[in-house]
Symmetry: D2
Subunit: 302 residues, 4 copies
């Protein structure tokens, strides 16, 4: 059975498999476990072989999901705890050595709010490469970090993956972090879930146009993908609402190809994407630069 | 029968009434007629008494709808023809005298694209009041036009209608044009319909918080409201999609209170709102300043 | 002797008087004193009667100048100390009672960086009026603060002072704070000095077009003006540079009417104006709301 | 004699040489000529050998200057005529063959208005590469044009010339156009002169930090540099003003190292840079795509 509906989240792909598969079937090639840190729920889905790939429609690798409702609801102290949690997951997935350099890539279009997760993250990431190289006496303890925002295809005429490949060939970083907005299948996860995957990403894969991947195979260095779902598709929304209202139990597939020119996003999308971009940027900063504080980051970025 | 679902368009309110009323019932207190100008379809709904008010849930007055699909599809020459059509309707609804002054109010929040129809219009409207007063030798043939953008409530702490009332009391214009984004009940009308109403407007009325009206009663001068629907609510979308897909025939009411924190808007909303703001601004300019050309407006605004 | 050259700072007007007056002359009608708080130098110039008015070209009142070099140089902890110092001066000049409401007006044009002090301050000021009125159980201990940004004349066709008068008549605040960019006569003071004056302000007075004042006489309530010089005029710059270089001792008056279409501003103007807008906004917040912390403000504004 | 003061314009370097050289000296290795097109004055300075290089402090090559006062003053029809004139000069300097592809690079920082000539041009340049490749049936007659904006060094950590080299190696265009803001030595030329040079450019060369060049040697393909001066330095302004006022005849060198942290720019810089970015973008579009009209460009970019 192949997954046909649209989700970028491994944790959802697994849910969908379970809903649709026969009860007695076991999901082979996939290991999942839950944990918690600082009060944030973390789910890890590991796809270990091609049986798992086939079942979930995603490549072999590790997918970690952090639930960030507390941050979006702006509970007391949630930002600090959430950024530290994210930094922790980033560190454990990247396994960087001292002195390694990192390129952070913000995908997406800043002018379209639900697509601005990458650009907003880029603005909250400390660019240190030139400082470390020119003023090692002051910045020598930091990692060298460069940041690029890939404009969308239409604004440069250059295909995203090719553009990033060119930058990587020039800078030769030891690792790449690529940040993008995702699509989810459940309204409840929109803007409330961060997924980290060591498999890289295929930009805009959900939108149906096959583009080149951004991953270790294409770039030659490890790629950590960080994403947050900011939209559901209209068919998903419709199926969710109709089922919730108890009118009829529907799957999004039943409604495929309807409402395809619409996007569905939270009313608070502006505030949400601002919070998320800050979270991911600060999480990256904390993970990459040993003993830095949130206050140091505030000062550096202001 | 009172209308409970959400639409800002009189033409839709009438449709809904007809769908739900018994076939033999006649809609009293409402006169409707279709016409065409420059290839654009125009529908006029007149609510003539309180029977019409009750049936359609809107105050007595004239509601004119122009279908602007050609503009949004960027057909050849559509902008010019559409702006002239709009100017024509504005002129016929406002009945201004020579020398009358006008205040144009752009409602909404520029930072949220589907809510930016008012601010975008404001940017495309020629501000002439100070020029006419200070350089009558050059600008004396133009009408005196002032423009304000009401920030949203949260950014000033001042309630919108009260703020506009204060400006009107100060400037004493002969008429007010108020421009806002609306909500519609049909996906197909989103960004494709302009409604003009001589009844004024209740800002954010659809969102359920009762605010003071902006109309002739509250401001003391005639108020023309111009609006374009840019969002549908999630329940509407869901009902539309489910019915379209032939799964079940639903009314949005069946799904009320679901998906209420989501907005549904076209993928092309940025381009659409830019086109619409330019259309309304240019339409207003053409209507208010006798023998001006589109080229003059381009020059003035650039 | 009347002052003819361009400065908005009382402290400079006094300096200029002293440079040009005969040594034996005493400056009557003016009292000046220096003090210090939190390491910031504070100068108070009081113009006590019309002799002082004539000599300095400014109305009777109190003008307090805080030197903020440490903030602009981003010394450790400077922001906190500087905001508290500013709050302290604001409190002592405004003498508000519990429950008093305040209107904060940001003058200037956000699109022109050196003119954006007012708009940037507006963005950093907590708008509480609607919250206090609607949710007194949560916000009842705060003062009611409203914020308006007056667009520049050309964007609305409405004269600034008249616009603010209309808002004041509507809101009936107990006091007004008006924030604007100023001009200085010394390069060294640009972006490094905050002036507070209980005399109000004449918007754009330096640019030579007489506009209506914004002060207690015109608005009917006390007006505190807060300003920071962000530009020098070209003649001032030229005279300064020529004198510094030891080439010739010149006064700006010798060069009047040259370079009048140019503005002179620091290379770092973007960062400076961002810092200044944040400083003034936070200073206002601390002064108006009893026991609030910087952290509370961060949270409120984010 | 080596030129020590700051100008990016060959035509000014020549003027300065002539002011300072003895009357009887002939400027060897430089050919200059004036012409006119569509009412715009055009000056061509050709540096033909190393004597010219030494005298003017610029590499061998052709430097064409167009005076655009009419555009900035917004005379009737000036935009059309000026864009056509510019397109004509671009065409004659680039000598492209049918089917050649071009990379347009906008240097500078959009957030700092006088530095935004490159980014504004980028926004007004038609990106066609992906369209020609994917929809040759519709766009096959156009040249393939890609556009990149190089962020400033501090926002990416990547050195500009290296970044562009990486993009060129990836895209392999047949030619590069690089657009940047320049510095001039005369106030009167600010925002009123476009310089085109077939020598490429050294980004930020005037600011004194030696960076890698962007030219045929470094990129391997011909590079056309297009620039407009938007700032003068403070010493230049001071010398100009003092001399204009008849106070003393000074050269900027006499005042070197004074006012070095200030920038001097026209009061109308926002409008000027908007006009200039549109001019250069439209000029490039007209030059690169055979039979396109201004109306086509408007439609494409809107």
């Amino acid at each position: 059975m192949m997954l046909k509906i649209r989700t970028d989240l491994a944790v959802e792909a697994k849910e969908i498999w379970q809903e649709t598969a026969e009860k007695q079937t076991k999901l082979e090639g996939v290991i999942a476990r839950d944990s918690e840190k600082n009060g944030f729920k973390i789910t890890t889905v590991e796809i270990t072989d091609e049986r798992g790939e086939r079942a979930l429609g995603k490549p072999v690798g590790t997918y970690v999901t952090i639930e960030i409702d507390k941050l979006i609801n702006r509970e007391d102290n949630a930002f600090t705890l959430c950024a530290e949690t994210l930094a922790d997951v980033i560190s454990s997935m990247m396994k960087l050595k001292d002195g390694d350099s990192v390129l952070v890539v913000g995908l997406g279009n800043e002018a379209i709010t639900p697509d601005a997760v990458g650009p907003k993250t880029a603005r909250n990431t400390m660019v240190t490469r030139h400082l470390v190289e020119k003023m090692p006496e002051h910045f020598g303890t930091m990692r060298r970090v460069s940041v690029v925002q890939s404009g969308v295809l239409g604004t440069t005429g250059i295909e995203t993956a090719g553009f990033i490949k060119a930058v990587v060939d020039k800078l030769k970083p030891d690792a790449v972090i690529v940040v993008d907005a995702l699509a989810s299948r459940k309204m409840a996860r929109i803007c409330r879930t961060v997924q980290l995957a060591d498999t890289g990403i295929i930009p805009g894969s959900g939108v149906g146009n096959a583009r080149a991947a951004i991953n270790k195979e294409t770039l030659g260095v490890p790629v950590l993908a960080i994403g947050v779902p900011t939209v559901v598709d209209a068919a998903t929304l419709a199926a969710d609402i109709v089922s919730e209202a108890g009118v009829k139990d529907l799957e999004p597939e039943d409604l495929a190809n309807h409402g395809i020119n619409m996007i569905v996003t939270p009313k608070e999308i502006d505030a949400n994407v601002a919070d998320i971009g800050k979270l991911i940027g600060y999480g990256i900063n904390l993970a990459l630069h040993g003993d830095i504080t949130l206050e140091d980051i505030n000062m550096f970025l202001s």
